[in-house]
Symmetry: C2
Subunit: 395 residues, 2 copies
């Protein structure tokens, strides 16, 4: 057992797949971590259960409807309960060593900014905020001496083999893509794809938003932008390779012929344990007696193929938005969030998701200045434009 | 162009495949490197040509027969010419920043020790000396504050993703093996394998000794021991995986589920450029206009399979020798050197190579004490024992 103080954590999006994976690891090391803040949006039931298990100092529900349920479940504890977005931000003013942001969508932006404004360490799995407001997050990080740890599996892979001294000799980086559930579905069947089919990802078990993004491969488009932001690389140095087995997650290729890669099972606990222990590593698998902790990494056949832009136009759309610059990535991201929700609610078809995004991008001005106000305004406007287009389409 | 002094190099085994690859890279950066010493064993013709091209200060031919030829070829130059093993060691007393030891066989041991005794930096591609006298090399390195850079492609791969801080959480490392030319040859055909067939390696173009070692896979056995020495790992933490495409060269698997790997074309210039530039990288591929410098790295299908111990008993033999300890690896290596030469000279069959090694290991005492004397004595004795067994067999 170590003598040093425990690492204090804030886990945002605690009831989602990122949050649960974090807590799975953290729960194994009670002497090493303590939870300062657990936050979720609306799943009060699950949040209360996690709170009883992990005994955080603060629990925040940002949505309002289920707050009474949370209160009644945790009434016998000394845990401080809070409700709403502003309360979440206040809780992040506590003395926190590491915040894991597993919030889905643009809602993750303000909490990330707050952490960085305190010069905190932010493990960021919330790609939408990096896409919409990358420059803002990076500037804030730099100004207040914060630290951003790439946490998305592909970016974490690259982070694991990143060596600052070799950055100038990088030829390109490669993000792998499983290709999602529709890699081999005939394109003519795309209009008939249902939400239920799209939610069945062949490799990763994830929340609904990212599962649909994986099915359209907009997820990979967002990740290209995320990589440009996190690693400060031009878009043409960020390549994508389809790799259905998801064994290799990311690679750096140097102009001396070497490629360095991280490989691992399709289990978010692997990258999350890395950011939790960074700059060390946690030997959680070696210490586990649980066979389900040891998914077999099947090396036997690894396939790689180029991405088919006709099948997945989202990736080129994202590259264009990034090259266009300004608020284009923000607008694209907002339109996509609305379209994915509409698809999940059976309001539009699968192919309409990208059509919605393209439409919104085509009618809005992308501006230039990226500030918190311009990002939030453009996000709201893009959402409204997309909703209105979808509503008209539904008629 | 940089202002700092050039890196001075000694290239041992200059006319072999390692030496030529080093000189190919070095020749591209005349402002960065200068050759202090070029050495080869008997190919005076090639050595003279390389000397005229690279203008080293000293040229050494360790064999004696062809020395007059070297003298006549380089008579018009101011290059200092030397002959013999002792002269090579004296030349290594010069002010040398980096020595690349590409000598084949136990002959590489004394030069490596000399470099380390000066606290020099040694890029060691001579695996036999590491196998026969690993403890001696490591002790010398430590005592005189030298540096050993792993240069064999598999070990260099591991070195590229090695991070001292994470050593304690290593689960295991993996050396990949192409499987050589006889991966799928029916085992019953092994007695009829000729030297010419064995020299045709499917992936790598290398010297005769290492090509035969790859065919028997004793090369991988030697590399397991080399890895134990270089990375200070127990033998059971060094795994081997057959990977016919030779795209992934080596991996480190951590007990947090992450595996880090180096990938690259089967071209020794890739690991060699890394040790030449270490701790930086040389963007030699980006700067090259020569299409032959850009071997395509074909990711499309990567196969991995376990090693078949019935087909390749050499690997388990090497593990046993390492576990046995003492001079067993030295004896095994010496017997193998003699047996490979005998096979190349058509004195014994392919399957007799391992039989020779097993015989010599079974009749010699492995001792305990590893010193320069005991290593050289055991090496000589093992060679004599093997030669005598082979001579009897030939009758």
């Amino acid at each position: 057992m170590t003598e040093r103080a425990k690492t204090s954590l804030a886990v945002l999006g605690a009831t989602g797949s990122i949050g649960r994976s974090v807590l799975d690891i953290v729960g194994r090391y009670p002497d090493r971590y303590e939870i300062m803040v657990l936050a979720a949006h609306h799943n009060a039931e699950a949040l209360a259960e996690l709170a009883l298990q992990h005994r955080p100092r603060h629990v925040v529900l940002t949505g309002s409807e289920a707050f009474p349920l949370l209160e009644s479940r945790l009434s016998e504890t000394d845990i401080h309960l809070h409700q709403g977005d502003a309360a979440l931000l206040s809780c992040l003013d506590e003395d926190i060593d590491l915040t894991v942001n597993g919030i889905s969508g643009i809602a993750g932006l303000l909490p990330s900014l707050r952490v960085l404004q305190h010069g905190g360490t932010l493990a960021i799995a919330n790609k939408e905020s990096l896409v919409a407001a990358g420059a803002l997050l990076k500037d804030t990080c730099q100004r207040y001496d914060g630290i951003i740890l790439p946490t998305d599996s592909e970016h974490n892979a690259i982070f694991q083999v990143w060596y600052e001294r070799h950055v100038k000799t990088i030829s390109h980086i490669t993000l792998t893509a499983s290709g999602g559930p529709f890699l081999t579905t005939p394109i003519e069947d795309f209009p008939h794809i249902t939400a239920e089919q799209a939610l069945r990802h062949p490799r990763w078990s994830m929340g609904p938003k990212i599962s649909i993004d994986s099915a359209t491969m907009m997820n990979k488009g967002l990740e290209i932008i995320e990589a440009c932001v996190l690693f400060d690389l031009p878009e043409h140095q960020v390549e994508v390779m389809v790799h259905p087995q998801s064994v290799i997650h990311g690679m750096i290729t140097y102009s001396d012929g070497s490629t360095l890669a991280q490989l691992g099972p399709a289990d978010m606990r692997v990258p999350l344990s890395y950011v939790l222990a960074w700059p060390d590593r946690l030997p959680w698998l070696a210490e586990s007696q649980d066979a389900t902790d040891h998914p077999k990494l099947d090396f036997s056949k690894l396939d790689f193929m180029p991405l088919d832009p006709a099948r997945f136009p989202s990736v080129e759309l994202a590259r264009q938005a990034w090259r266009q610059g300004g608020l284009a990535p923000c607008i694209m991201n907002a339109a996509n969030e609305v379209a994915v929700t509409a698809f999940l609610q059976h309001q539009i078809g699968f192919a309409d998701i990208m059509a919605s995004v393209e439409h919104t991008l085509s009618v809005m001005s992308v501006g230039k200045e990226i500030s918190l106000e311009s990002v939030l305004d453009s996000n709201d406007e893009a959402m409204a434009v997309t909703r209105s287009w979808i509503a008209k389409k539904g008629k």
